[in-house]
Symmetry: none
Subunit: 207 residues, 4 copies
Amino acid sequence: MEKTKRKEMEFQLRRSEILTTAVKIFASKGFYTTTMAEISDDSGFAIGTLYQFFESKENLYTTMICEKLDMMYSGIREKVDGAEHAIDKIEMLIKSYFNYVENNIDFCNLFIRGEGTIPSEEKTQLREKVIKDYLNHMDFIEGIMRLGMDTAYLRVCDPRIMAYSLFGVIRAHIVGWMLENHDYPLSDKVDCVLQIFLRGVGAEVRE
Amino acid sequence: MEKTKRKEMEFQLRRSEILTTAVKIFASKGFYTTTMAEISDDSGFAIGTLYQFFESKENLYTTMICEKLDMMYSGIREKVDGAEHAIDKIEMLIKSYFNYVENNIDFCNLFIRGEGTIPSEEKTQLREKVIKDYLNHMDFIEGIMRLGMDTAYLRVCDPRIMAYSLFGVIRAHIVGWMLENHDYPLSDKVDCVLQIFLRGVGAEVRE
Amino acid sequence: MEKTKRKEMEFQLRRSEILTTAVKIFASKGFYTTTMAEISDDSGFAIGTLYQFFESKENLYTTMICEKLDMMYSGIREKVDGAEHAIDKIEMLIKSYFNYVENNIDFCNLFIRGEGTIPSEEKTQLREKVIKDYLNHMDFIEGIMRLGMDTAYLRVCDPRIMAYSLFGVIRAHIVGWMLENHDYPLSDKVDCVLQIFLRGVGAEVRE
Amino acid sequence: MEKTKRKEMEFQLRRSEILTTAVKIFASKGFYTTTMAEISDDSGFAIGTLYQFFESKENLYTTMICEKLDMMYSGIREKVDGAEHAIDKIEMLIKSYFNYVENNIDFCNLFIRGEGTIPSEEKTQLREKVIKDYLNHMDFIEGIMRLGMDTAYLRVCDPRIMAYSLFGVIRAHIVGWMLENHDYPLSDKVDCVLQIFLRGVGAEVRE
DNA sequence: GATGAATGAGGTTTCATTCAT
DNA sequence: CATGAATGAAACCTCATTCAT
């Protein structure tokens, strides 16, 4: 079935073209101020065509967020799983985050801006999924912390709090980089962030 | 002019009643899904009356965000300024944040949800103000870091990065607390967060 | 409460103006080809205003049909109840129908054309109401037939069939009058119709 | 040209398959709520194919109505023409109507529901045709009445009024049968209807 | 000054029709 | 010829804002 295959491929291609346009516009204008007409214009597809790929504006948005988010989380996980020791995993986590951001500025803009969730009467599905994914990811980081503690690379402490802290440090740098001039590669800061997380900011000797 | 004064007071009272209702509704439904009619119903003022206090829906929202934000930042600043040493300032910063969140869950919900900024064609004023305030606040934290380094309470390091890290750690705990069951007082974690920030998570001795 | 009363009256006035326009347009173009914009233009009210009186186009249509239908049936009933003997009741029934039609050509056009019911996924409510009313009305006519039989003015026969027949004869004349040139008053035919219904069309003596 | 003939036959076969599906769907959902996609799905032909048989949705509908209507009228005429005397013709008319209804419930549903005519800006052609056919049919019935009067089977009276009356009685019974439980054969009522039409409902002796 | 009915621009979505494959 | 994805006009409806009372 060469023909069917070709069709399927073209379908996926168009679908992803739409999604790419969608990310860009949603990211710059937010969900509510973006109109289907704009997505239509910018993507080159007629409005009706958009509705053949996505059943509604909300569905288009939701799908876009979910796919992007899944890709981000799974991409990061994969890389982190490649490392063996806790410290290496942590370093890889920071590195993957920074890489992702540098390559997906549009999406991050949108997401960090908090547009992640559209409040809609009942369809709190997206919001719930986003939160669930976030907490799952925290569980994942928590796992790394436990490993670090078990292998004596990290000191013993509430692993949830450690996970939150690591994520918080990473996120704050990303936001800072995005708001300020991002004229230097974010990745330059990986080591710096890692050191702060591991050793804290307190003076070496305090007694 | 007793009368003028009384009028002025009544005016301020009404204005603040509206703002209080606005926070609640905007926080639960977001900017776009909230209608002026709802704010009118819930506040008990006629729609027309709302327009005598605020020139537009956007203005009402913007004003509300700004006032809340200013109160938050200045409240925190004030408390932090009360402390003398860097470490105490840091501790106070964490404590004030946690206190504020516990007393303003509605607003934080809205803000953490990222609804902080409404993208509107030209009036990016709010967005800019929010960002400016955020960066100002980072400057403020950065100042504390410098002080800590100058007084040898903190080790020498890029103070901006330290500021971001501190804020990140704080924010992550707030978000975690809000998403998960907040059945324990957030303030319980102040010390824990402080320790992580100062000493890091690495094992004490590793050589 | 003079003021409230006046407001209520004006509200009802406007509402009925809209309904009058609606009958006219729906009657001439049918439900689906009529647009809210047209009703807005013809009635002089803005589109938004229409929605303050009726929650949807369907609701406007449904309301209009129901009110008109109720008025028709109750008006006819009232007049018929005023007569004592079965034959007089029948005559009055025919007369009232003809009168109603002459004074409500628009509505009858719409209704006889069968536009009475809009097929809409689930909201078969209107259709059901129309049918229920119709059957109720048949019950009412059947009652007259029974009375006629009891008082020996009508010969003994299935009263339901008699009811259907009477209604059928009346309706057919109405339709005929509406489709052909209605340059003579429909009421002229009352007696003629009555005679046919009572005596049939067969030759006087057939044995 | 065997091939051409075969092709022609297949063409007619497909065309009639489409029409059969169309009657069913249009009858159950009405003209406007039925979509070409549905007819395509239910008939098994692609949308584009439908347009090779009928130039538009309206044309498909119109054609369907016209063919069905023509078949109905001509079928009835044919049977009635087979009878010689006026009374027999009348009986046959009633009988044929009832038969047709019992065998074409879908179509009758649609038609009695009044969906017979689609109001469309200019193309009032269908509406006009339907009316013309109806009036023609009335002429035909009027002819029977005249014959009856000429041969002294019917009493002298305005033949148009008689025609309307007969049709009205027939129609009312059909509608009644369709709205109420049609668990008895409609044909059972032929004689009953005939008697009412011929002898009326008045008591035998009234002087 | 307070009110809330009226307004109408603008957004989402549907679906008959076309045309390249 | 058959197909069915692409098209875009047009409809319904919402809701911020105004203004007469």
